[in-house]
Symmetry: C2
Amino acid sequence: MEDKHPLPGNAPLYKQIKKLIIGRIVDGTWSPGKRLPSETRLGQELGASQGTVRKALDDLVSENLLIRHQGRGTFVTTHTAQRELFHFFHLVDNDGIKQLPVYSQLIDCSRRRATRDEAGRLKLSARAFVIAITRVRHLNNNPVICETIILPATRFAGLEQNDDIPNELYGYYESTYGITIHKATERLRAVTASNVEVAAIGLPVGSPLLEIDRVAETLEGEPVEWRVSRCDTQAHSYLSEII
Amino acid sequence: MEDKHPLPGNAPLYKQIKKLIIGRIVDGTWSPGKRLPSETRLGQELGASQGTVRKALDDLVSENLLIRHQGRGTFVTTHTAQRELFHFFHLVDNDGIKQLPVYSQLIDCSRRRATRDEAGRLKLSARAFVIAITRVRHLNNNPVICETIILPATRFAGLEQNDDIPNELYGYYESTYGITIHKATERLRAVTASNVEVAAIGLPVGSPLLEIDRVAETLEGEPVEWRVSRCDTQAHSYLSEII
DNA sequence: GAGTGGTCTAGACCACAGA
DNA sequence: CTGTGGTCTAGACCACTCT
């Protein structure tokens, strides 16, 4: 078990095991949805007791990297609609009920050079290419969200030629491009709707919108998606639980 | 160890221990900031092994109820400014730097009967009394947040007579009223500034504001504060980390 | 040095899923 | 029935804090 800077050889065994497991997920040895070896087997292979392996797995479960099923095994997390809904989507209606958009109206999807802002957010070189998606998302049959998504073209080669982009993107990134979104940072502000948004969502001029500015990262902490969603919050609100 | 409905006698031992510890925190046996007995001592008292007690404590630490200090002991969490800042305050400036308001301008603080909405949010009877606080909070020497706070008068007796209400309320609730805020649910929307807010914060008429509607609860899940903060998000934004 | 939490082991039994 | 994770024990040693 050879480690560089991040984990010195004298780090606790369970942390070394965590790092090793993360490495195997990142390099694809254990891909999303796959079952890991049992706790006892892992312990034998790594020269650790079952209890120590268990401690490492416990941590990774609480970091949403793994999921356990009693009697079946321990699996690498996948982006199911469930996960998308409960983890990455925060708009609820006025009764507090969460509902994923079932319909998205694609406005544009094209490949072009990154703007300065886009390159900065995605840590790309100045003249790199990106794919830009613009769409209007519907909730309860009403247009509510006007969304622009920026992706690095090198990682998502050919995506702009797909004319059937699914509503639920993170599962699509995972299955088609092998890119797992693990973490996202959102910045929220109140803005005034632009003319485009007024038309797309059907609002009075000057209406306030909730802007959600999200950068999503892979397991390795690399930013791979920048998404700006502008939401009509008359019938919905953004739910944030502080526990 | 007698349990009613919530935890049948055949529940795992560590869950029974968790419940017992929570009970002792709620009833004040172990108040915020106090040290718990050591793991081995707790194990002896409860007839469990140190490992099982540890598992219960681990859970409670991850739920922010306890905090460990190696070599010193395990303590009940308190509302320090740190906790307030990192856990319950989410506005950051445009460089992503978080800064607690250092100055609040008190506009009003009075006792009156609850409106229908207020009674509903705080689960009070129809004609109960509340204390209403209105204040403007400053960030970087600028007025940014216009805030209204509603508290049940029975739990916060006499608070309206205090003319030196601190900026950092949750520590004050804890030390003065023995009320520990443990969880909060926030709903965010974009709204248009009212005339009052335009004047208080100094904005053009019709400016968009970010409205944060928060209900805060005790450990027992009882709502004890309803707070509506309307924020100018030109120089700040609400940070939400999704991990 | 005494007492605390932090790590690790080895082994036991239970609860659950699936062939 | 077998293999998996879930719970629990008893004991060991390390790392840290305080006196």
